[in-house]
């Protein structure tokens, strides 16, 4: 699935605190299928989340979002989360969310400008996240070219495929 960095994202915000762990996001030990995971993702922090999340919603998290294992966040994509905006992200969660691409923005200060349930607008090209109701704005840092390229290819497996084909065609 391709994510276009040029597209503006607008959605309702679900707020989460610090150190949201991958056991909670992706409790695969207990639920082995995607359908089951979708019913339980993030319930250990907000039991209503899997029941009430709607396609296009945005997660706003605190620091160290996605701490714990190397498991990916694809279940969040599957329930329709349009973007994840966090104060800081665990290294592996960040790599995962770039590699199996879905919009993730490490945006210090995001917590202060938006409340749960409000609408957030993310404009990567303009490098800003904006609270639509209040107009409050915070800067979204730009990705380095290495990461922009992964997004442009539609993910790291696709980048690998392109490189392999180019090398073997020679």
């Amino acid at each position: 699935m391709k994510f276009d960095l040029n597209r503006v994202i607008r959605g309702r915000v679900w707020k989460f605190g610090d150190s949201v762990d991958t056991d909670s996001i992706n409790p695969f030990y207990k639920y082995s299928t995607m359908e089951e995971l979708k019913k339980h993702t993030l319930e250990s922090f907000r039991p209503e989340f899997p029941k009430e999340v709607k396609p296009g919603d945005i997660i706003v998290g605190g620091r160290n979002f996605g701490c714990g294992s190397h498991r990916p966040a694809t279940v969040l994509r599957e329930v329709g989360v349009a973007a994840i905006v966090v104060e800081s992200a665990s290294r592996l969660f960040l790599r995962n969310t770039i590699a199996l691409p879905m919009p993730i923005f490490v945006t210090p200060g995001i917590n202060a400008i938006v409340r749960d349930g409000e609408t957030l607008e993310i404009d990567y090209q303009a490098n800003r996240a904006r609270n639509v109701a209040t107009g409050a704005v915070v800067a979204i840092p730009k990705f380095p070219p290495t990461i922009e390229r992964i997004y442009e290819c539609g993910g790291l497996p696709q980048l690998a495929r392109q490189r392999y084909l180019a090398e073997t065609a020679r």
């Binding site: 150190s19 762990d21 056991d23 909670s24 409790p27 030990y29 207990k30 082995s32 319930e43 250990s44 620091r63 160290n64 701490c67 714990g68 294992s69 190397h70 990916p72 800081s88 665990s90 290294r91 592996l92 790599r95 995962n96 590699a99 199996l100 380095p144 070219p145 290495t146 993910g155 790291l156 497996p157 696709q158 980048l159 690998a160 495929r161 490189r163 392999y164």
Partner: protein
């Protein structure tokens, strides 16, 4: 300006063959790739990306280490069926180092079998791959997608990390304290104090730390969000490696004028026994502040605490004592080699005589696969994590502690300062 260990390792492995500095994005050459039991998830990513038959190759059949670890023998029909597929893929790809019929944890088996050496850059599809920093390697967990890229090309992108120097001072007591050290640091500085950074462990305590203790500390680097967690290569390291690998290696040390993001000094002589309360690694209190909480289950095992010294201290303390009535004390060695070593030393017999359960080496007691806990129950565990729900019910209370603290709780039936239960320490 000098370089840190991380900068040196990544300079050596930089595809652009230039010295690197913290903050740079580089492509790095990989020395070894560990793949564990979720190999088929990587295979399926490759299929989805257009490699219809799966991987067309691995970049080097002698640098990929495929260990069908975590849960052996198979936990379910699904696991058994998946294992068949892994076996076929390993054979098709010609992977030389393949362990599929052996219980254990990859992060113990990799060092056990001598697959990691000082100065190397090693990655794997598991967050605790950071463990091999105990042997002076730059090692770290990667995602499945990153691992796919590594398996094809032997390369992957890195951001060169800032480094944090942790200076450990004091004296090693006659019991392991590695878990207390890392919990104590997480409690003081937060569960992400090393976010995306490399930890360098140094100071007068380090030469006194066993390889087992170093592995515990390095493994837990990821619980404080680190990319690497590296120890110096010393006599202890070389002796450990001498029995396991004949391949040459080049240790790495920081320059005297290397630049650190921060420096933390900890005197372990002043350090209390540390316990993480539910449900976060950084929610740490001295054991005396949580004493008295009744427990239902105690555990020692996993890639953080399933090693010889962890099991030895439990067995030593259980001599002449019994596990409290009604408490389940579950111990899981981290590999077959560790299990055998414990057995030869009489530790397993002691554990069983005192009423402990000893279960197959593997990851089962750390994830909810072996020894679920129920709503309202309390578990204190010397394993990796205490996230809510990690042992089954979302309404169980999970505490983390070192193996001595866990054993004391198992004997007393409640969380307690080990010195109150064991007058010999």
């Amino acid at each position: 300006m000098g370089q840190t260990i991380a900068e040196k390792i990544l300079s050596r492995h930089n595809l652009a063959q230039q010295p690197v500095r913290a903050g740079e994005f580089i492509g790095a050459r990989i020395d070894g790739a560990m793949c564990h039991y979720q190999f088929m998830d990587i295979h399926r990513l490759a299929v989805d990306a257009g490699f219809k038959e799966g991987f067309p190759r691995v970049w080097d059949t002698e640098r990929v280490f495929l260990l069908v670890d975590h849960h052996q023998p198979a936990l379910s029909q699904a696991y058994a069926d998946e294992n068949i597929l892994i076996r076929k893929e390993a054979q098709r790809l010609g992977i030389k180092y393949f362990h599929d019929a052996e219980p254990g944890i990859a992060h113990q088996m990799m060092p056990d079998y001598g697959y990691v050496r000082p100065g190397e850059l090693v990655v794997g599809n598991d967050s605790h791959t950071i463990a091999y920093g105990a042997l002076n390697a730059g090692s770290t967990g990667m995602t499945r997608a990153d691992t796919l890229y590594v398996l094809l090309f032997g390369e992957v992108w890195f951001q060169v990390p800032q480094s944090v120097k942790i200076v450990l001072e004091g004296r090693q007591p006659n019991y392991p304290i590695a878990k207390d050290i890392i919990l104590h640091l997480a409690g003081l500085y937060g569960d992400d104090f090393a976010q995306n950074m490399a930890i360098e462990f140094t100071g007068p305590l380090v030469p006194q730390l066993s390889i087992d203790s170093r592995m515990c500390l390095a493994t837990h680097g990821v619980e404080v969000a680190a990319k690497f967690a590296v120890f110096p290569c010393d006599g202890e390291t070389c002796e450990y490696l001498r029995m396991r690998t004949a391949k040459p290696y080049e240790p790495v040390a920081a320059d005297a004028d290397a630049v650190y993001e921060k420096e933390i000094v900890l005197d372990v002589d002043e350090m209390p026994f540390a316990v993480a309360k539910p449900h976060n690694f950084g929610n740490v209190r001295p054991v005396d502040e949580v004493a008295g909480i009744k427990i239902d289950q105690a555990q020692i095992g996993s890639c953080s605490n399933g090693r010889f010294e962890d099991i030895e201290i439990a067995a030593r303390m259980l001599k002449g004592r019994k596990v409290a009535k009604g408490v389940r004390f579950v111990v899981s060695p981290s590999s077959q080699q560790v299990y055998l070593e414990c057995m030869k030393a009489g530790l397993i017999q002691q554990l069983v005589e005192s009423g402990a359960h000893v279960v197959t080496p593997g990851c089962g007691i750390c994830q909810p696969k072996v020894g679920y806990v129920s709503a309202g129950e309390v578990c204190i565990t010397a394993t990796t994590r205490n996230f809510r729900g990690r042992k089954g019910s979302l309404d169980a209370q999970l505490y983390l502690g070192g193996p001595l603290t866990v054993t004391a709780a198992a004997v007393a039936g409640k969380i307690v300062n080990p010195k109150e239960v064991f007058d010999e320490i």
